[in-house]
């Protein structure tokens, strides 16, 4: 099932020599100054190391190495009279999977990948065995994508554990995995997973090329991959969905998506993603379709509110007073009396204050963060009004906008909407609804122009018929959805998305 691949380009390859001392000296010269490289001699004869184990401290489980592997090898050496090399190899094979290494580069890679390597005098090969000894976080509930109903486990920083979580859920023979090593120095393992019968192979080929083209010294998070492979570098919108939930990843693969898993980060990337997928959390699958669809509509509304809420307020109360119903305008009149700032400045103060508080409460430890939010809310909500700096309706607008942005499940998308809110506010203050309309035209044109590997970012809008789009946007009951699958029309498969745009230039 798994297709392994030597990811990095072949560098200068130095073959091993039969004299283990020579090999060790070469290894020492490579790791000069690195005190983490440890040597454990198993047997020596006439000042010649007949067998030496080499490993990088902290990466290998020393306790197991000492108590199980070295003890057993020493015991076998004492009890058997045969040649040292043969005895040791036989002993090693009984302890686990042995990798035969013939080049220095291979040894370097294996040492970095928490292997210990056994050098035996007279052999032009070394023998590696994986014995990871570093601690990893236990599987925990996802911190960002919280669900009321549904699976509770989330990805960790350990790629193997994450893969295990996915494979446990998806046992299909069509599940394929392809690995890459990214980062000149970090040599981080990256895997792409997909279902071969559902994936769009053109998108897959393109994605592989893009991942191959990544040239980084250190890959510390999947965000770097995301930035590197996305089509539009300067777009404020994230074009690739990230998730820390294995169930979501499995659902995505079932829809023909390609999943990129990176070692050292709990965030899997799901490609090709569309804008509307970022508005739908995995929980939609676990709720009754009425409620799920109701929430989808609510989220669309909150999307609009979070993007243009303050801009609307500025435009209406500064340029288009005739559009406000008379009783409401009278309330606004009373509420705004004595406020020294223009509405736009008022909105700007409140929005910036809100963002500052949000950021502060997020960066602080959780307990302190809560108290900062409470104090901040008090300052914004009451003190600012009492001191006559901002009006009450403005507090409501900013609070509503802020809360609305929190309903968007994708954190990245919520950030982009929050960012876009500011230029739209400026445009509203410049020329009212006209400015806001111009701003929204720019945003919508930009969204329409976005693609990922040829797949429309706004899919299903514009790529399919009205009914197909409705089927994709709204969640049908499971039975109905399965019926659609059996008829051969999979409404959510990305292959369909790119078929319409076959031949489009990625660039």
């Amino acid at each position: 099932m798994l297709i392994s691949k030597k990811g990095e380009e072949e560098m200068s390859q130095e073959p091993l020599r039969t004299f283990s001392n020579k090999n060790l000296q070469e290894l020492k010269s490579i790791y000069v100054g690195n005190e983490l490289l440890l040597f454990r001699t198993l047997a020596d004869k006439d000042n010649i190391n007949e067998a030496v184990i080499v490993y990088l401290n902290s990466l290998v489980d020393e306790k197991r190495l000492n108590q199980q592997i070295l003890r057993k090898m020493n015991m076998d050496l004492r009890m058997n009279d045969g040649p040292t090399g043969e005895v040791l190899l036989e002993s090693l094979h009984t302890l686990g999977d042995v990798n035969i290494l013939t080049e220095i580069d291979e040894i370097e890679n294996h040492l970095a990948d928490s292997n210990f390597v056994l050098f035996i005098e007279g052999y032009d090969e070394a023998f590696g065995m994986k014995l990871p000894g570093f601690e990893t976080r236990a599987i925990d509930e996802p911190q960002i994508e919280l669900n009321i109903r549904g699976p509770r486990e989330g990805f960790t920083e350990d790629l193997q554990k994450n893969l295990g979580m996915i494979l446990r859920r998806m046992k299909s023979k069509n599940l394929k995995a392809k690995s890459f090593l990214i980062g000149q120095e970090s040599q981080t393992k990256v895997m792409i997973l997909y279902l071969s019968d559902r994936v769009d192979h053109e998108v897959l080929d393109e994605l592989c090329q893009r991942i191959d083209s990544i040239h980084l010294d250190v890959l510390s998070d999947s965000a770097q991959i995301e930035e590197w492979i996305q089509d539009s570098t300067f777009s404020p919108f994230p074009q690739i969905l990230n998730s820390e939930r294995p169930d979501r990843v499995v659902t995505a693969m079932n829809r023909g998506k390609i999943v990129i898993m990176t070692d050292g980060t709990p965030n899997a990337l799901i490609t090709p993603s569309t804008f509307f997928e970022m508005l739908h959390p995995s929980e939609d699958q676990f709720e009754r379709f009425y409620f799920a669809n109701f929430l989808r509509i609510i989220r669309l509304l909150t999307l609009i509110v979070s993007l243009i809420g303050p801009s609307f307020y500025i435009a209406f109360t500064t340029f288009h007073l005739e559009m406000i119903p008379t009783p409401l305008l009278m309330t606004f009149l009373s509420a705004k009396a004595g406020i020294p700032f223009p509405t736009f400045i008022e909105a700007l103060i409140m929005e910036v204050a809100f963002e500052v508080l949000r950021e502060a409460s997020m960066r602080l430890p959780r307990i302190m963060g809560q108290s900062v939010s409470i104090v901040g809310a008090l300052i914004i909500g009451e003190a600012a009004v009492q001191s006559g700096i901002v009006s009450r309706p403005m507090v409501i607008v900013v609070a509503m906008t802020g809360i609305a942005s929190f309903t968007i499940p994708s954190y990245n998308t919520a950030i982009s909407l929050r960012l876009l809110r500011f230029p739209l506010m400026f445009l509203s203050a410049l020329s009212g609804m006209f400015g806001l309309s111009v701003g929204m035209f720019i945003v919508i044109f930009h969204l329409c122009s976005l693609r990922f590997c040829g797949v429309l970012f706004l899919d299903p809008l514009g790529s399919e018929g009205y009914w197909s789009a409705m089927k994709k946007f709204f969640l049908p009951p499971v039975k109905y959805k399965e019926g659609l699958h059996s008829e051969g029309s999979r409404p959510n498969v990305s292959r369909i998305q790119s078929q319409k745009y076959r031949g489009k230039d990625w660039e």
């Binding site: 053109e202 393109e206 090329q209 893009r210 109360t317 009149l333 705004k336 400026f426 410049l430 990625w506």
Partner: protein
């Protein structure tokens, strides 16, 4: 389709994108500095809302007086309860525009007319200079065409100073009265849009809202209320109509006027039974023809009704009794409609029902022949009124007398 990644090309492409991005960002920064610089900015804290306007015309000086009922907050934002202070601003000028501009220039706030609901036009202005006033009101975009032009006897600016029975602000109270017209049907509140549509027609007149002043029944102050109508004919005020006539007019106008109206009447039956009933127009139809150059008309009105109270024990379940009640109600309403029509034809001699429009629409050839004589023909048109009343509800109790 899939193109290989040439790093040099990528670098060039990213460089170009970066340049565009920087240019776009600089443009955005420039735009940001312009925020709030528009001359159209109207800060909410600098405005006063005009909710009613009075327009007077002095025939001697030939000057218009523009008075505005303005509202502005009297509290500060820190106070929890919001209060609004009404005040009246007034100015005179040679034209309506001149008066309005003078008035605006004398107040310390930007007057916003978009929320103005009523234009109270004095009788003198309506008689002598209605065209100029309506022309000004329809030319300016800031006056909403959904506002109600209302004719009032005496000085219109004085009316703005009067209080209402509820104690609410004048425009709010008047708006409530317009809404409550469905309870009596005795108001004909035309919007500026409808007013202007009918204004130019030389053959027919129309009825607009009328404001009355009366003494309060609970206190000694004078209060305002909407009742009856003002007849406009040939772009001038031509007379007043009382509430009952306006009711007939509403019943014989378009469905939008009578659809929601439910009025009550006290009916006396021949056998001494007196009962009150609520009536609702179900169908209203005017049919006419022209025979030998003389037009004739038939009016058909259907009402649904519900009995609300009776003066004596009556078995309303008996079909004979209900039939008699229906006949009595039909006769009563028929006479009421005939009386109003007689007033329109014989006293006013103005086609307020729009019969000329009916003939133009349904008998265009004959209309051409009678058009020039319409003014003399109209009072002579024989009109036959047919009213049918059907009682649909008689209440929950048939008798309140104790059964032995």
């Amino acid at each position: 389709m899939c193109q290989g990644y040439n790093h040099k090309n990528i670098a060039v492409r990213i460089g170009n994108s970066l340049k565009n991005f920087v240019r776009f960002s600089l443009l955005c920064l420039c735009c940001m500095s312009l925020a709030g610089c528009s001359p159209d900015v109207n800060e909410i804290s600098d405005i006063a809302l005009v909710t009613a306007t009075a327009i007077d015309y002095n025939a001697d000086t030939k000057k218009y007086t523009f008075s505005a009922f303005c509202v502005m907050p009297s509290n500060t934002s820190q106070e929890k309860s919001s209060t609004l202070t009404p005040w009246i601003s007034s100015a005179s000028g040679k034209t309506p525009l001149d008066a309005a501009r003078k008035m605006r220039s004398r107040v310390g706030k930007n007057l916003i007319f978009q929320h103005n609901k009523f234009f109270i036009i004095s009788e003198s202005a309506a008689k002598l200079s209605l065209y100029e006033v309506m022309d000004y009101l329809t030319r300016k975009r800031e006056f909403r065409i959904s506002a109600y032009p209302i004719i009032a006897p005496g000085q219109a600016s004085d009316i703005l100073k009067l209080s209402t029975e509820s104690g609410d602000m004048l425009p709010n109270d008047l708006l409530g009265q317009v809404r409550n017209n469905k309870l009596s049907g005795q108001i004909k509140p035309l919007t500026i849009k409808d007013f202007v549509d009918l204004f130019e027609n030389p053959n027919r007149g129309f009825v607009s809202g009328r404001l009355k002043v009366k003494s309060s029944e609970t206190s000694d102050k004078k209060i305002l209320f909407l009742n009856g109508g003002a007849v406009i004919y040939k772009q001038k005020f031509a007379g007043w109509l009382e509430g009952n006539d306006v009711w007939t007019l509403n019943a014989l106008s378009g469905k939008k006027y009578w659809r929601n109206i439910e009025f009550n009447e006290v009916i006396n039956s021949n056998d001494g039974l007196e009962f009150s009933a609520l009536f609702h127009v179900k169908e209203s139809k005017i049919q006419g023809n022209i025979q030998n150059g003389s037009p004739r008309l038939s009016i058909y009105l259907k009402f649904s009704a519900s009995v609300e109270d009776l003066n004596e024990e009556t078995d309303v379940g008996d079909s004979g009794v209900t039939l008699q009640m229906e006949r009595a109600a039909s006769n009563y309403l028929e006479k009421s409609v005939e009386k109003s029509l007689k007033h329109f034809q014989k006293d006013l001699k103005i086609d307020v029902l729009g019969l000329s429009d009916y003939y133009l629409q349904y008998h265009p050839a004959a209309w051409k022949l009678i058009e020039k004589d319409w003014e003399s023909l109209y009072p002579m048109i024989p009109v036959k009124v047919h009213v049918a009343v059907q009682f649909e509800k008689y209440g929950m109790s048939t008798s309140i007398k104790e059964r032995l």
